[in-house]
C-alpha cells in the first residue's frame, strides 16, 4: 500500500465517522462542528486527486464562510432535544425511501460500467508548472461561459430575493446618515459670540480656615 492510499483511507475513515456524528450528535453545535471536520477532510481527499483549486475553495467557502454563519445561527437557537425526537417514527418511512434511492444512485455510479472505477482512471501526475486554477478558469470563461453566467445570475436573484423577503423596516429604529454627519460644519452647530468684558472680575473671597 502506497503512502497516498494510506492517507486516502485515513481521510475516508475520518470523513465517514464525522458524517455519522453529524446526524447522531445530540448537541446541534457539536453536529455543526463535525460537519466542519467532514468538509475539511473532503478537501483533503480532493487534494489527493490533485484538484487543489476545488479543495482550497471548499475550505474557503464552506468552512470559512457558510459554516461560520451556520454555527452563528445554531448557537443562538434554544433547541429542546426531546421535541426534536418527537416525529422520529413518522419521518422514518419517507426518509428510508430517500435513503434507498440515494444508495441506489451511488451504487450505480460506483459499480456501473459507464461510470465505475474503471471508466474513471486516477488523474495522471501533471508537471509542476501546471496550474489547476488557470485551466479551470479557461474552461469556465470560454467553453462553459453561458451556463456559468446563468448560474451566477440565478444566485444573484436568490440573494436579492432572500434579502427582500426577510428585510423588515421597523418604524421606531433610529437611523443616522453618515453623509450628513460628515458634512456638518462647525458653523452649523456652534455660534461663537464676541462679548466684551464689562465688569471687572470680583476679588476672590477670603479663604476660610479648614474645619
Amino acid at each position: 500500500m502506497s503512502f497516498q492510499t494510506a492517507v486516502f483511507y485515513a481521510f475516508s475513515l475520518i470523513l465517514v465517522l464525522a458524517a455519522l456524528r453529524v446526524i447522531t450528535a445530540r448537541n446541534p453545535v457539536h453536529a455543526a462542528l463535525f460537519l466542519v471536520l467532514a468538509f475539511v477532510t473532503a478537501a483533503g481527499i480532493w487534494m489527493l486527486l490533485e484538484a487543489e483549486f476545488l479543495a482550497i475553495t471548499l475550505v474557503l467557502v464552506y468552512v470559512g464562510a457558510v459554516m461560520v454563519l451556520f454555527l452563528f445561527v445554531v448557537m443562538m437557537l434554544d433547541i429542546n432535544l426531546d421535541r426534536l425526537k418527537e416525529g422520529y417514527w413518522d419521518y422514518l418511512v419517507p426518509a428510508g425511501v430517500v435513503a434507498v434511492v440515494m444508495l441506489g444512485e451511488m451504487a450505480a455510479v460506483l459499480v456501473g460500467k459507464q461510470l465505475g472505477a474503471e471508466a474513471m482512471p486516477a488523474p495522471s501526475p501533471k508537471p509542476e508548472t501546471y496550474s489547476n486554477t488557470k485551466e479551470l478558469g479557461k474552461l469556465i470563461y470560454t467553453e462553459y461561459v453561458y451556463p456559468f453566467e446563468i448560474a451566477a445570475v440565478i444566485l444573484l436573484v436568490a440573494i436579492v430575493a432572500a434579502i427582500a423577503l426577510t428585510l423588515r423596516r421597523r418604524k421606531d429604529t433610529k437611523y443616522v446618515d453618515p453623509a450628513a454627519q460628515v458634512l456638518v460644519r462647525r458653523s452649523d452647530r456652534l455660534r461663537i459670540v464676541s462679548m466684551p468684558a464689562e465688569v471687572a472680575a470680583p476679588a476672590a473671597p477670603p479663604e476660610k480656615a479648614a474645619p
Binding site: 487543489e52 475550505v59 474557503l60 470559512g64 464562510a65 461560520v68 454563519l69 489547476n132 486554477t133 453618515p178
Partner: protein, 342 residues
C-alpha cells in the same frame, strides 16, 4: 557540507520528514520570538505616543519584559468555568493559533526561500486564515458566558464581512500578476524602476481596503468590538487564563505579522528594493513588515473604537463597492495603451 550528507544518511528514509520539520521550526521559532517582541514594541510605542515610557523594569531598558510575561502566563492556572464544554474550551485556543502558523508554509522570504512554493499559495493563505474565526466562535460558545458569547458573535459577523472586501482586493493583485503564486506576485512588481512599479500605486484603493480589512480581520483597534472592554469586558476570551489566554494572544499577534507580511508581498514589492541600483533581499521585506506593523500600533494609539453598526457599514457599503468599482477601472485601464505597469 560533508557533515550534512552524513546526517542525511544517518536518518535514511525518514530524512525528508526530519528536514521538513527542521524547516518548519526555522520559520516558527523566529516568528514566535517576533510575536513576543511585537508585544513589547506595542507597549513601548504606544507608551511613547501617550508620553509615557512603557515597560522599563525587567532587564536593561525593559528588554526582558516579554520573557517575564511568558513565564508568568505559563505558571498561572488555567481556570475552566463550570458548565463549560471542557474539550471545546481547550480546543478553541489551538484552533486559533493553528491557522495563524500554518499560513506561513507558503510565505516566501526571498525568491528561493520558501517552505512550499505552491501554485495556489494566495488561495491557500486565504482559506487557512478564514479558519481562524473558529477559535473565536468556539471559545465564546464553550465558555458558557454571555459576555464571551456576545464577543464571539460580533467577531464572527465582522470577520466574515471583511473577508469579502479582502478577497476582492486580492482579485486586483491577481489581475496584475496573472498568478496565484506569491513568488510570481512579487516578481511581477520588479521592473528596474524601484518603488513606482509596486502594486500599491495602480491598486491604491485596494491597498487601503486590504490594509484596513487586515486590521479588522485581526480584531485590532479600532475594530476590536469583539473584546470591547467597556461593554463586554474582554469578549470571547474573558474566561481564559494562563497559557490558554496566552495562546489567543499569540494567535492575534501572529495574525498581525501575517497580514503585514501579505501586505508587504502583494502591494509593497516584498523583498524588492525601493531604489534602483540597491540590491533586493530579505532585509527589505523585514523593513516593510515592520513598517506595516508600526501602522497597526499607530492606529491603535490614535483612533477610538468604532461602533458596531459603523463597522458593518464600512465593510459592506464602502469597501465592497470601492473594490468592485476599482476592479472594473483597472480591468478597462489594462486594455488601453495608457497602462504603464508592464
Amino acid at each position: 557540507m560533508e557533515l550534512f550528507t552524513q546526517v542525511e544518511q544517518w536518518f535514511g528514509p525518514v530524512w525528508p520528514l526530519v528536514w521538513s520539520l527542521v524547516k518548519i521550526v526555522a520559520i516558527v521559532l523566529p516568528l514566535l520570538l517576533a510575536v513576543a517582541y511585537l508585544t513589547f514594541a506595542e507597549r513601548k510605542i504606544i507608551g511613547y505616543i501617550q508620553v509615557r515610557v512603557g515597560p522599563n523594569r525587567v532587564g536593561p531598558k525593559g528588554w526582558l519584559q516579554p520573557i517575564a510575561d511568558a513565564l508568568k502566563l505559563m505558571t498561572k492556572e488555567i481556570i475552566i468555568p463550570t458548565g463549560s464544554n471542557k474539550f471545546l474550551f481547550l480546543l478553541a485556543p489551538i484552533l486559533s493559533i493553528m491557522p495563524a502558523l500554518a499560513a506561513w508554509a507558503v510565505i516566501p522570504f526571498d525568491p528561493n526561500l520558501v517552505l512550499a512554493n505552491v501554485n495556489a499559495s494566495l488561495l491557500y493563505v486565504m482559506a487557512i486564515t478564514s479558519m481562524g474565526v473558529y477559535g473565536v466562535i468556539i471559545a465564546g460558545w464553550a465558555s458558557n458566558s454571555k459576555y464571551a458569547f456576545l464577543g464571539s458573535l460580533r467577531s464572527a459577523a465582522q470577520i466574515v464581512s471583511y473577508e469579502i472586501a479582502m478577497g476582492f482586493a486580492l482579485v486586483g493583485v491577481l489581475m496584475m500578476a496573472h498568478s496565484l503564486n506569491l513568488v510570481d506576485i512579487v516578481r511581477q512588481q520588479q521592473s528596474g524602476w524601484g518603488l513606482v512599479s509596486w502594486n500599491f500605486i495602480p491598486l491604491f484603493p485596494m491597498f487601503m481596503v486590504y490594509l484596513i480589512s487586515g486590521v479588522a480581520e485581526t480584531n485590532r483597534a479600532p475594530f476590536d468590538v469583539a473584546e470591547g472592554e467597556s461593554e463586554i469586558v474582554a469578549g470571547f476570551h474573558v474566561e481564559y487564563s494562563g497559557m490558554a489566554f496566552a495562546v489567543f494572544f499569540l494567535a492575534e499577534y501572529a495574525n498581525m505579522i501575517l497580514v503585514a507580511t501579505m501586505t508587504a508581498l502583494m502591494f509593497l514589492g516584498g523583498w524588492l528594493s525601493p531604489i534602483p541600483g540597491i540590491p533586493d533581499g530579505f532585509p527589505w521585506l523585514l523593513g516593510k513588515i515592520a513598517f506595516v506593523l508600526f501602522l497597526f500600533l499607530w492606529f491603535r494609539a490614535t483612533f477610538p473604537r468604532y461602533r458596531y453598526d459603523q463597522i458593518m457599514r464600512l465593510g459592506w457599503k464602502v469597501f465592497i463597492p470601492v473594490t468592485l468599482v476599482w476592479l472594473i477601472v483597472i480591468g478597462g485601464w489594462m486594455q488601453t495603451p495608457l497602462w504603464l505597469w508592464k
